[in-house]
């Protein structure tokens, strides 16, 4: 994480200068994405501790946090968990497309082409699964699979009561 910026007090004040503010937003984007990747955090709430740096006693004001999150969403780096309340987002530190290719590569490398692969296999907690995808949120995983279906590379398998269970590549 770019610690120099994160320990820079003005980083926690909304900058009135437009160019500086845009730069500040993009720095916040990097900080959040890196943080999520390193801590394997798929969801981020607007009260997450990332928005407070106790070491320099600075924290981002609530209204500014919303601006940062909306900026993430508009840059397709995150999606609102609930677009009405807008209190939490899913973090795409890798885009859905990148995750899709990773799944395909994993399926290839484990020779499971053509067989049915359940969500659990891909990202189950204690299953080897796709590297770095362990514990991915089901909604996010669902969206990644849609990408594959959309690309015609896989079909979604449903169990008896119709909720999606796995993929067939």
């Amino acid at each position: 994480m770019n610690s120099e910026i994160y320990n820079f007090p003005p980083f926690f004040t909304r900058q009135p200068n437009e160019t500086t503010w845009q730069a500040q937003l993009s720095h916040w984007k990097d900080v959040i994405l890196t943080h999520s990747r390193e801590t394997k955090q798929w969801r981020l709430s607007n009260t997450d501790s990332i928005f407070e740096n106790k070491k320099i006693q600075r924290r981002l004001k609530p209204d500014v946090i919303q601006l940062v999150l909306s900026d993430l969403v508009s840059n397709k780096k995150a999606d609102w968990v609930d677009s009405k309340t807008k209190t939490e987002v899913w973090i795409w530190w890798r885009s859905a497309e990148e995750w899709a290719t990773l799944i395909l590569a994993w399926i290839d490398s484990t020779g499971q082409n053509g067989s049915i692969v359940t969500f659990y296999d891909i990202a189950g907690d204690d299953s080897p699964g796709v590297p770095e995808m362990v514990g991915m949120d089901s909604t996010m995983l669902h969206k990644v699979c849609q990408v594959l279906v959309h690309q015609g590379k896989a079909a979604v398998m449903r169990d008896e009561d119709g909720n999606e269970v796995g993929l067939k590549v």
Binding site: I5, F8, P9, P10, T13, Q15, P16, N17, T19, T20
Partner: protein
């Protein structure tokens, strides 16, 4: 007869010690005898208590001239209403001024010559070429002509030499003999004028037009009647004051000779002081003239009360600079603003601008300037208009408008970016690690700016992306912007 006056950096004539402005009118042209003086056809004419000064509009530094009121014998107004030409005021010059046109080469000189017979040194009063050769006062023998000539030449050389030596090396002050730096105009110790500015005198403006019998002022945009009225009153006053000069003896008020010691002394000196105060108040406050003449004594009396008041805890507002500019309603609209603008520039350069760190907000300038005037205050609108013209008048100061509408006045040569560079480099030295930033108060104490000016300068740097801000409960601080790299 014409002298070239000195202009200060706001292109206004530098007034002598007790000289004061009376009136100024622009769009005036100058005539010598009957002819128009080229290059002197569009300028401002200042009437002061002692001089008439013409300052050209286009090239003030080159075409500026002045003439003492003493030289003018009478004044006449002509033209204007039925003639198509603009109204004029003709000033006739005193005869004897014009007649001293003799070649100054061998004007009268006092010399001493030594008699070759009895070696008696005889002094010779104002000897001229053709005079008859004097006899020696002791032995009555007439010396030869060349002895007299050598003596005359010797005294002339020595006087010229001593005068030159005196001014070049020591520049000694006539009043307190303090040896000033040669370039000093006023003595550092007592402020007396050492070198009357070598006012080159010019015999006539138009080549070989002498003797100059009169000169004429042509008023292209009016204002002549008022100017005439003020000019005639000045000339009459000038005449009156010259006759009474002899009688005004400045008697030094003698300190009471004996100081009786001890308690009775205490009582006595106290009584004396009180009665002296009473009599002074009695006589001084009778009418304006009395107060004028005894002004100094009354001022010292007032000052003596000052310490008493301070002991009482009251505040006595000390007025720093008094501005002699008079917003008399006699000035036309734009001349008023020009003169106000120039006066503001002079006021700022009397140390006020330095004290404010080179930039002063229009609010603070308004308060300080009106405080220094004390009476007939200028309105905010007048001050704004005057400041707005500073740059176009070529004054050393200019008005600056910040982005959010904040107005200030600063030195002309200082560019905005130069100020910002200065600010940034200071912040970098004070907070090299860029971890604590600077507060507005810190900037104020460093640059001697007011809080308002400091905030504007910081925001200006922020708008340029050089600084960024940190809003925290402890207050607002500014850091060097590292987010944009």
């Amino acid at each position: 007869m014409w002298t070239i006056p000195e202009l200060n950096n706001s292109l206004r004539p530098v007034l002598f010690n007790n000289e004061s402005d009376v009136i100024v009118t622009d769009h005036v042209g100058l005539y010598e005898n009957k002819q128009k003086v080229p290059n002197f056809q569009n300028g401002r004419i200042y009437l002061t208590s002692e001089r008439l000064i013409y300052v050209d509009k286009d090239s003030p530094k080159k075409f500026t001239i002045s003439i003492p009121l003493k030289a003018v014998s009478e004044v006449e107004h002509s033209g204007g209403f039925y003639l198509k030409t603009s109204p004029k005021i003709t000033c006739f010059l005193k005869p004897e001024e014009t007649s001293s046109s003799k070649d100054s080469g061998h004007h009268a000189v006092d010399t001493t010559w030594i008699c070759t017979i009895c070696f008696m040194s005889n002094t010779l009063k104002s000897w001229r070429e053709g005079n008859e050769i004097p006899k020696c006062s002791m032995c009555g023998v007439k010396p030869s002509i060349d002895i007299i000539d050598n003596a005359v030449k010797a005294t002339k050389d020595s006087s010229k030499m001593t005068k030159k030596k005196a001014t070049v090396e020591t520049n000694e002050c006539p009043r307190c003999t303090f040896k000033n730096h040669p370039s000093m105009l006023n003595c550092e110790m007592c402020g007396a004028v050492i070198k009357a500015i070598q006012a080159q005198t010019v015999r006539c403006l138009i080549p070989n037009n002498s003797p100059v019998v009169a000169f004429r002022l042509s008023f292209r945009k009016g204002g002549d009647k008022l100017f005439l009225e003020k000019l005639t009153s000045c000339i009459n006053k000038e005449a009156v004051s010259r006759t009474s000069e002899g009688s005004r003896d400045s008697k030094e008020n003698s300190r009471d000779a004996s100081v009786t010691p001890g308690l009775s002394g205490l009582q006595l000196s106290g009584q004396q002081r009180l009665s002296a105060n009473d009599s002074l108040m009695e006589s001084a406050l009778v009418d304006l003239q009395a107060l004028m003449t005894q002004g100094k004594q009354v001022l010292t009396l007032a000052k003596s009360f000052q310490s008493l008041i301070e002991a009482e805890g009251g505040t006595s507002t000390t007025i720093t600079v008094s501005s002699s500019f008079d917003a008399a309603d006699s000035l036309s609209e734009d001349v008023f603003y020009q003169e106000l603008s120039r006066d503001l520039s002079e006021f700022l350069h009397s140390g006020v601008l330095d004290k404010e760190g080179g930039i002063i907000s229009l609010f603070d300038l308004y308060a300080l300037y009106n405080r220094s005037r004390g009476y007939s205050l200028v309105s905010p609108n007048d001050l704004y208009k005057a400041c707005a013209q500073m740059e176009s008048l070529g004054l050393p100061v200019k008005m600056r408008r910040y982005k959010n509408g904040f107005l200030a006045v600063q030195e002309k040569f200082k560019t905005n970016d130069a100020l910002t560079k200065q600010l940034i480099s200071w912040i970098k030295t004070v907070d090299a690690s860029n971890t604590k930033g600077v507060s507005t108060l810190g900037v104020c104490s460093k640059f001697k700016w007011s809080v308002g000016v400091a905030e504007e300068e910081l925001q200006y740097a922020e708008e340029k992306g050089l600084l960024c801000r940190d809003e925290h409960v402890t207050g607002l601080r500014y850091f060097v912007n590292i987010m944009c790299t």
